[in-house]
């Protein structure tokens, strides 16, 4: 035993899902006041493990000790009664309800609502997370929504706080502020279990890291003694090869031009696009950064033709006015797209890979002959995607929904690239995809740009955009910033553009505000 007592200990926790062993005899120790990182690729079993700790899932085998005593956590109520709080990656909030109601729902004994409102204000200010209890959640930014989750935990005086990928939706300034809060909590003796795959964050914040791979604990380390690269190697298991450095395109030929694009949102909490202007040349990869919910979805819809705009001249594909065209017409002109949501938007989960190929590629790949589907040709092409992009599947007849996230994403990206698009619009290309698949997708995009396509990447992952794009702009509240050369852009500047209207202006970026690329 070390000097600090152990707060949480897991012994040989195993959890099996149909077909997968999500956690394989996992041991874990978290000391009092320690900030402990749980590190691993997507699908390594991190989320499963913390859900077991929080009582959302139940372990098949193994034992959990809380401050030295064996406990069974039947459900989240039991976990909260022990003193465990959790901030979910996908917030567990109720949009049409107020901040106060959301908080009251998530704690055990809310008591009188007026008294609770006062405590919310008090606690939220004490930790630098100001909240207005009367506001409805749908009116808040993502960063503010996360504050609700954190304050909800803090009100219960937790002794262990679990944070599942808390920074994926925050601006660099918001991340810095969150870290200050977490350090403050740690000095007050609260243990923090911090899940992330952002290695530089873990280096900055955490005292210890446990690394999971394929459901097993493969290593543990002191992040401050390691480099991001060495931790990535532990996480992935093999040395990571750095992304190829891009030289910007030298061509002057503009393939996509967007000129003063305006589009009203089509739902209550959407964002209206205002005067969006940019152009992408042959062979160029253009990145669009921004915090989630600032108009990325609307921009994607406007670009791909899912929602045509009113004035044809606002979008020019290879010089031709395409603004009023629908998605199919734009595909015929050479614009392909990969939306963010794999299941239900990019692919129909219940249909086979071949059928999914036909749905998007029938026009460009000549898969129809006098109204009939040419199944053989479609199967042949699907097999090519599976082979070229190393998609792990039982066959092209397997349903899209049966593939893992990474493999389906590879198939979808491959499907669009095989259609040899002149312009490719891709949203969140590597969201929820493991590092191996992400690298493969990045390589494929580079290769496509080499061949002269113009690529627009919409992503919330700044590291990804820094590695991929040669030009970059930031979308905030439906307006797009000026385009900048990626190599010359500073993270602080991008962060300020991203956070423009979230009340962070008085807050100066900290010394670590600039995050270097991971590898």
């Amino acid at each position: 035993m070390t000097a600090t007592p152990t707060r949480l200990e897991l012994r040989a926790i195993s959890k099996r899902f149909p077909g997968v062993l999500a956690n394989d005899s996992v041991d874990l120790n978290v000391a009092a006041g320690e900030i402990h990182a749980l590190l691993g690729e997507n699908g390594a079993g991190k989320s499963t493990l913390v859900k077991i700790i929080y009582g959302v899932l139940h372990a098949d085998e193994g034992e959990m000790l809380w401050e030295g005593e064996t406990v069974k956590v039947a459900d989240p109520h039991a976990a909260r009664n022990l003193g465990i709080g959790m901030v979910f990656q996908h917030f567990s909030l109720f949009e049409a309800m107020t901040v106060l109601e959301n908080i009251a729902l998530g704690i055990e004994n809310p008591g009188d609502m007026n008294a609770l409102a006062e405590r919310v204000i008090e606690v939220s200010h004490a930790y630098g997370l100001p909240l207005d209890p009367g506001r409805e959640v749908h009116t808040l930014s993502v960063g503010e929504r996360q504050r609700i989750e954190i304050v909800r935990c803090l009100l219960q005086n937790p002794r262990l706080l679990i944070m599942d990928e808390p920074t994926s939706v925050l601006t660099p300034q918001e991340v810095e502020r969150l870290f200050e809060t977490l350090r403050q909590l740690s000095t007050e003796g609260v243990s923090i279990l911090y899940i992330s795959h952002k290695l530089d964050e873990i280096k900055q914040l955490c005292d210890r890291a446990t690394i999971l791979r394929g459901g097993k604990v493969v290593d543990s380390c002191d992040p401050k003694q390691e480099t991001a690269k060495s931790m990535a190697a532990m996480m992935i298991g093999t040395e990571v090869r750095p992304l190829s450095q891009r030289e910007g395109s030298s061509s002057e030929k503009i393939r996509l031009e967007v000129q003063g694009l305006n589009l009203d949102s089509d739902h209550a909490f959407g964002v209206t696009l205002r005067d969006v202007t940019f152009s992408v040349r042959e062979g160029e990869i253009f990145g669009i950064a921004g915090v989630a919910g600032n108009g990325q979805n609307e921009l994607f819809q406007a670009l791909t033709g899912e929602r045509p705009v009113h004035i044809a001249q606002e979008i020019l594909i290879d010089g031709m006015a395409a603004g009023r065209m629908g998605a199919a017409a734009r595909r015929r002109m050479g614009m392909c797209s990969v939306p963010e949501e794999r299941n239900g938007h990019a692919a129909v989960p219940e249909m086979s890979l071949t059928e999914n190929f036909i749905l998007s590629g029938y026009g460009r790949m000549g898969l129809l002959s006098s109204g009939f589907i040419r199944n053989d040709a479609a199967e042949e092409l699907s097999r090519r995607v599976v082979k070229d992009f190393n998609v792990k599947t039982a066959g092209v007849g397997a349903s899209a929904g049966s593939l893992s996230g990474g493999n389906l994403q590879k198939f979808i990206v491959g499907r669009e690239i095989l259609q040899n698009p002149g312009v490719l619009v891709i949203s969140q290309p590597t969201w929820g995809v493991d590092a191996g698949a992400a690298a493969a997708i990045h390589e494929a995009l580079f290769a496509l740009a080499e061949k002269g396509s113009a690529i627009i990447v919409i992503s919330q992952d700044l590291d990804e955009l820094m590695a991929l794009s040669d030009h970059l702009a930031v979308i905030n509240m439906g307006s797009l910033s000026k385009s900048m050369v990626t190599a010359k852009a500073s993270i602080d500047e991008i962060g300020l553009l991203m956070g423009g209207l979230h009340g962070m202006t008085e807050h100066q970026p900290g010394p670590n505000g600039g995050n270097a690329n991971v590898v």
């Binding site: 909260r80 567990s92 909030l93 109601e101 009251a104 729902l105 809310p110 749908h138």
Partner: protein, 308 residues
Amino acid sequence: MNDALVLGLITVVSAATPLLLAALGELVVERSGVLNLGVEGMMLAGAVTGFAVTVTTGSATLGIICAMAAGMAMAFTFGVLTLSLMANQVATGLALTIFGIGLSSLVGAGFVGIAIEPLPKLNIPGITTIPVIGPLLFGHDILIYASIALTGGVAWFLKRSRPGMILRAVGESDESAHSIGYDVIRVRYMAVLFGGLMAGLAGAFLSLSYTPLWIENMTAGRGWIALALVVFATWRPWRVLFGAYLFGGVTILQLASQAADWFDVPSQVMSMLPYVATILVLTIISAGPWRTRLNAPACLGKPFRPAS
């Protein structure tokens, strides 16, 4: 003239009450995220049970209690099918209505043509006889007062009580409620059972007070109006009350104009009005930006399947 007006208003209140009772129940069900289209069937089950038990035992109180139990039994069937077995809510609700029509006709076959005393009216000597206000405020039966009290009760429950807040949360985001640790399925069962109870009560009002008789299919589409009313009222209890009296008023106006030839409007047009109003509200809601402003539960009609 004055008397006729008072009489008219009293009829409006009577016509509105079954709508109000059934719609209040359905409002709670829908606020928990479940769409039960079986209101008509549950009302019929309540109507026939209430009538049969009252005729057989002579106790209207027992009749009302059994009517509520019958509504709940129907609702429980719906709950098992849609909440436990994940059947499609719309199809199951429609089936429940058709089942209710058939079952109530079967059970009620022996009771057609029997007449009973309507539920006693509240009669406070000296007060009920005050002109206009007396009969209007103090001349109804217990179910009418109950329906108004229940409106206040449901409004308070949803807005102020913690269980009510949990119920709204479950209807707003079942996933979130589950991950915080609420038993979504259990909450929805409770809501569905309450909906059945209220529909049963509405049925009992029809067969014991409004027209103290059993007639096959006597709800005559009131269950559907109640469903429409919930949408019309944008899921708010006091607006349900207002809507029920409005729709009740339209019904009576239609009957009266038919008899007295007041307007040159065909009665069919009048009976269309509640549905036209509902279609309007539904259209506005579906147009998008209005959805949350109009308070529609975000998870309405979506089945919830908890992860293991």
